[in-house]
Symmetry: C2
Subunit: 202 residues, 2 copies
Amino acid sequence: MREKVEIAASASQRRAVDRREQILDEAQHLFLRHGLDGVTTRQIAQAVGISQPSLYAHFPNRDAIAVELCIRAFGSLERRLRKVDAAMQGAERLRELCRAYIDFGLEEPAAYRVAFMADIAMDEVSGTHRGLEAGLATFSILRNAYGQVIADPDAAELAAQTVWAGMHGLVSILLTRPEFPFVERSRLISAHLDLLLGQMEP
Amino acid sequence: MREKVEIAASASQRRAVDRREQILDEAQHLFLRHGLDGVTTRQIAQAVGISQPSLYAHFPNRDAIAVELCIRAFGSLERRLRKVDAAMQGAERLRELCRAYIDFGLEEPAAYRVAFMADIAMDEVSGTHRGLEAGLATFSILRNAYGQVIADPDAAELAAQTVWAGMHGLVSILLTRPEFPFVERSRLISAHLDLLLGQMEP
DNA sequence: GCTGATAGCCTATCATTGATAGGTTGACGC
DNA sequence: GCGTCAACCTATCAATGATAGGCTATCAGC
């Protein structure tokens, strides 16, 4: 009897989870094309094929959807970084990690914005620290890579944060102010990487 | 006669300009306290003491107000930079320019957000390139300072853009993700400046 | 089988937002 | 005086995020 209850519950739960995932899929697709502020709950609902209020059975509010997508975005970045992390060593690894980070931002701008630039209420109640946790997990790849090059953990942490901030600056300003007369992009990226990693290769 | 007409016109125009400035003052004050998205046109109108639709006699839409404040923000940053620029020379000047930039971002976060982080439609019609021009004027201070240290203008431009991006990264991530466990702030800033300016002092 | 509970969804409706339409008023040139 | 016009108002829109309350099909328990 107990077993039956659990099976039923899990089946129902699975359906609910499916629908939730479906909502996130469609939301991600829409965000990708129209940006975080260019998508309404009604558009999401229509894409899923349900009514707009039905979204609120799965998410407490619109921001909660954004937080979920933020976590997905970190997941995408994390995969890119892990691939590089596993394939390389030392200074080269650091440089390629940075390059992978920048590539992620420029190739998946919507994801990047949600992850690092969106004004999501990360300090509120609903599962918001999960976004922070996802970010920390991703960041730890960079920190660990620095840990293998810099002995002092504190210094490695500092270096990783500094370099991360530097990369974020380039990516975010390229995304936010594309009308600025930037130097040719690949040159800018290379120069930026040289600057950020210059300390490593004297 | 002609003179009278002109006087009257300019007086009327002056009144209109005053009201416009008044709107901007109140909007700036409100943006400062509640952020760009936390202020409604009704709040601005109430602060000024006029009806909400009356705002549209002075600005085509809400974004136009934001663009004006963006220009004001650049003005504030520009004053800070010019003060440093006039008082120093060489590598020290570069470092203090960067520090002034970072201080601006941290001390006037609302202004910084409007200037560098807001998703204002900078490519639209209404006086939007004025925001870009203001930004370029401000940036030119940094570029010129680099021009006095790096001979090749192209290289100076590249260096200035790179360093600017690096600073922007630190400021913007501190503003956007304050919940991240950053290293102690003054250490982080110093390390970041060391990194960005390291090339200058071998 | 029947039945009561419940998950999942719907329609109807809110309050708030940015924005528009159209009328009123008061100053000013003639 | 009188037309003109700028500045402003009230009334109202459409769109948006969010809530209230009701319908229905599934399913455990008898």
